[in-house]
């Protein structure tokens, strides 16, 4: 998985080289590794289709307020236990009054397109807003993971010795923690009373709690490969050259080493976002992630499971949304790896 550091500049062949004479001494346009990877990626139709699907999902979720205002005329957290609405010219109960108390199912109407949940909330609106929350948690947590993992990995791999022992131990401790258990413990502990440390002031129901929890528990999954890669990269000549030039450690770490880690970070980053969405769903399902009444795909399933016999779509639809999103990200991540790692071409033939 360790890509060779590739020179970033264009070749300037000397005119004396036979066979190059045709270019009349003009420098040959080289393509950088990024451009080359992008070309390979563009040829991978499955990966590009997954990217398109994923972007479509993101756009839909971002448009949630538009749907809520213009089509459904109801917010994601508004209960409606006694009201009626119009579908196909008929007035229907949002939730059939007791003794049945059955929420309305999906049907062709702007309001309650996917039916209602047990509190009479519009399921379509919740699905879109829930997707926003799930995606936001997934992305932001991945960003936190990446920043921490890259800094720790660079420090450990570059300085080695004691620093590395500390970094490795941090990774080992987080790694050996039972992930879901740690997530639930932190999530539950924080959502009860929030977190107030100095300038940080997080309320109990805040989205930042699952974000921080998920961001921290997956640090070793990216940090370990990064550290390993830095460890081998720092032996290369270009690092020695930078040292000889008098560059300091910070400049070498972030100016020389970091660009060489880009492909690892990109590939792992994509897969970590996918993984985060699954983890957020699991935590929210168990009540330790996004807190009700705020919607997320995970807690929507958690709420829907109790109504499987009367309203199975409340469970099925958010689950499909998770699966589709995660699948698109996983397939795209795979394609990205094949594109960034030229060895993969040999592998597939």
């Amino acid at each position: 998985m360790v890509p060779e550091p590739t020179p970033q500049f264009a070749f300037e062949p000397s005119p004396a080289v036979p066979g190059v004479a045709a270019t009349e001494g003009r420098p040959i346009e080289g393509i950088g590794p990024g451009r080359a990877a992008w070309r390979r990626l563009r040829r991978n139709r499955v990966a590009m289709a997954s990217l398109a699907v994923f972007l479509a999902i993101v756009v839909c979720c971002l448009a949630a307020p538009l749907w809520a205002d213009q089509v459904a005329h109801v917010g994601p957290e508004e209960n409606n236990l006694t009201g009626k609405f119009e579908r196909g010219g008929k007035q229907l109960y949002v939730v059939t009054p007791p003794p049945q108390t059955k929420p309305v199912g999906p049907g062709w109407s702007g309001r309650y397109l996917l039916g209602a949940d047990k509190n009479g909330r519009d399921e379509m609106v919740r699905l879109l807003y829930g997707g926003r929350n799930s995606l936001f948690v997934g992305f932001t947590a991945a960003l936190i993971t990446t920043v921490i993992a890259v800094i720790l990995g660079l420090l450990g791999g570059y300085f080695r010795g004691r620093t590395d022992v500390v970094v490795r131990t941090i990774f080992d401790v987080i790694w050996s923690f039972p992930v879901l258990l740690l997530g639930i413990a932190l999530g539950t502990a924080l959502s009860v009373g929030g977190l107030h440390v100095g300038p940080i002031d997080i309320q109990g129901g805040s989205l930042w709690i699952p974000i921080l929890v998920i961001g921290i528990i997956f640090v070793p999954y990216l940090g370990r490969p990064i550290r390993g890669q830095v460890l081998s990269l720092r032996e290369k000549d270009f690092v020695e050259a930078a040292m000889a030039q008098g560059d300091g450690p910070l400049r070498i770490m972030f100016g020389e080493l970091l660009p060489n880690l880009a492909s690892t970070i990109l590939v792992f980053g994509t897969l970590i976002v996918a993984n985060n969405i699954l983890t957020e769903a699991a935590l929210s399902f168990l009540g330790a992630g996004v807190q009700l009444p705020a919607p997320s795909w995970g807690n929507m399933i958690g709420e829907g499971v109790g109504l499987l016999s009367t309203a199975p779509h409340l469970t099925i639809v958010p689950g499909l949304a998770i699966t589709l999103t995660v699948l698109a990200l996983n397939v795209f991540g795979d394609g990205l790896r094949d594109a960034l790692d030229p060895r993969a071409r040999v592998r597939l033939r």
């Binding site: 039972p178 330790a288 995970g298 399933i301």
Partner: protein, 319 residues
């Protein structure tokens, strides 16, 4: 080797210590779980100051934090850890959950290893052709499914609706072997799906990596049959990463990592016990189950490192 063993043991002990310290800190620092919150939870919301002070004294919350931590660890070590909320012994509860967790994980491990390896080999042998395509699609879907969602749907549609399988719960193997088996089929399937996907993807790529190696070409040049090349030369090497991954996954699952599957099917295993105690923010069982789980993860990663060095002599243990 002896030096490696000692260093590894010291490291393991330190990791376990750090995990217990972090768990304790979570319960000491956060406003929702700190000493006051715990006293409140034990004494009840309507308790007066006298009762609260009494609880604080009885449970040792008035002592400095390191004394509290030391007492907690002492009780964990000698098995006398008692839950704050329902006064049950934590060790007894964990021991009671072990048969269900072990049954679930052992069965699922057999299924996921068998199908993971089978699909991985088929995918690699037919690389680029339709069996590979179908298996790739299936395994990509497998690793993208939310486990709890699959479990909930299987449970509802196959037990409530068509009554193909008995409803959730765990039946002891010693009491009713066939009931044990039928009750565990759905949990096994639910837990395996994700791993089958991961293992077949990984094995496919390691086989395709190994197939290009010189020793495989040499074997073919010697006239070794294609099946024998695959089994004796390629698989032997390609399976090494699978062995490592298996060790880690198995350790995590036995340690209670199958929380979602256990909870959905209410198997009353260690994972479900852990989830319940974390949900009620009950420090002693959380500490007990976390250390129990971490112990398995730490021990199995050490075993994996040793197995790795044994299977692949190019890797030295000392480094």
């Amino acid at each position: 080797m002896a030096r490696f063993a000692v260093r590894r043991l010291v490291h393991m002990a330190f990791v376990l210590f750090a995990i217990s310290a972090v768990t304790f800190l979570i319960f000491y620092v956060f406003p929702g779980t700190n000493t006051n919150a715990q006293v409140q939870r034990i004494a009840g919301r309507s308790a007066n100051d006298v009762t609260r002070a009494q609880v604080k004294k009885d449970y040792g919350f008035d002592r400095p934090f390191y004394v509290q931590y030391a007492r907690l660890m002492e009780n964990t070590a000698d098995g006398s850890l008692i839950s704050y909320t329902n006064q049950t012994n934590v060790r007894d509860e964990i021991v009671r959950g072990i048969p269900a967790t072990v049954s679930l994980v052992l069965g699922a491990a057999v299924i996921w290893t068998f199908f993971g390896v089978l699909f991985g080999i088929l995918s690699a042998v037919y690389a680029g052709r339709w069996p590979d395509r179908v298996l790739t699609v299936l395994s990509m879907i497998g690793i993208s499914l939310p486990v709890f969602w699959v479990g909930a749907l299987l449970l509802y549609y196959l037990t409530d609706r068509i009554e193909l399988f008995p409803p959730g719960g765990y039946v002891k193997l010693t009491e009713d072997p066939s009931g044990w088996f039928t009750h565990l089929i759905l949990p096994w399937v639910t837990l395996s799906i994700l791993f089958i996907g991961f293992y077949s993807r990984l094995l496919r790529s390691t086989i395709l990596d190994t197939i290009d190696e010189d020793f495989v070409r040499t074997a073919r040049a010697k006239g070794v049959t294609e099946n024998r090349v695959l089994v004796r030369h390629v698989l032997r090497n390609a399976l090494i990463p699978i062995v490592t991954l298996f060790g880690l996954d198995f350790g995590a699952a036995i340690g209670g990592g199958a929380i979602l599957t256990e909870s959905i099917f209410s198997l009353q295993g260690v994972g479900q016990y852990a989830a319940q105690s974390v949900g009620s923010l009950d420090l002693p069982p959380v500490m007990g189950t976390t250390l129990y789980a971490a112990f398995f993860i730490v021990v199995l990663s050490a075993l994996v490192d040793i197995a790795y060095a044994y299977l692949d002599p190019r890797i030295a243990l000392e480094s």
